[in-house]
Symmetry: C2
């Protein structure tokens, strides 16, 4: 463990069978839902301690310090949990873009009249996000 | 299957090992994140067909037509998916309250100075939601 969770919080949270909890990241002022990811206890403790959002990457099986390579960091503004304690809502201030495609939010595809439409523009060239 | 999913959508979605996909429900105009739940293919197909949000209850292992008992229904305004196709964002119009506690949103608990605080009021007596 890199840091301890506040006992008040730990008592209320329910992690799943893989030791993870889902996290919704929302831009704190606009209300835009930016992305969805997962945390384990270590990621959550680091997020609270540093004020920078850190997830757990299920594909890499490692801590995922959001923006560490790309610079597109998320500053934690407020952490909320749901009534069952098994989902987190991270109200954040997103620098630049949340999505690896260079769009502000990962939810840029909408179903309209039975077809999928791209409803948001690429704001940052993805090559510049992970090129370094 | 009660209804078929649009092929365009089905091709892009990734359901987890339990055949489920996570769903974030957001009030379409205010941006408030109301709740988080899961759908299987049947629930999603019914949601699209009827325009009323239907989840999959993992505890009851049954379709969960939101608001069927309580009257607190969610009308689907727009369905979005994330860049990986493994999370849905349901932009909805929530009648009354989303949470079984009688609060508008399930995310009514915030971590402030290491302590959990209730930040939203009960708007509807929970006894009236499920009393029938």
């Amino acid at each position: 463990m890199t840091a301890a969770l506040p006992p008040d919080l730990l008592d209320r949270l329910v992690f799943d069978r893989d030791g993870l909890i889902p996290v919704i990241a929302q831009q704190h002022d606009s209300g835009e839902v930016l992305m969805f990811a997962w945390m384990n206890q270590d990621a959550l403790a680091e997020t609270i301690q540093t004020g920078r959002v850190c997830y757990w990457s299920r594909s890499r099986k490692a801590l995922w310090r959001k923006g560490e390579s790309s610079g597109q960091v998320q500053r934690l503004v407020e952490l909320r949990l749901d009534c069952d304690g098994d989902v987190l809502l991270a109200r954040v201030d997103q620098t630049g873009v949340a999505c690896h495609t260079g769009r502000r939010s990962c939810f840029f595809t909408a179903l309209r009249d039975g077809k999928l439409e791209t409803i948001a523009e690429v704001l940052v060239d993805p090559a510049t996000l992970y090129g370094g």
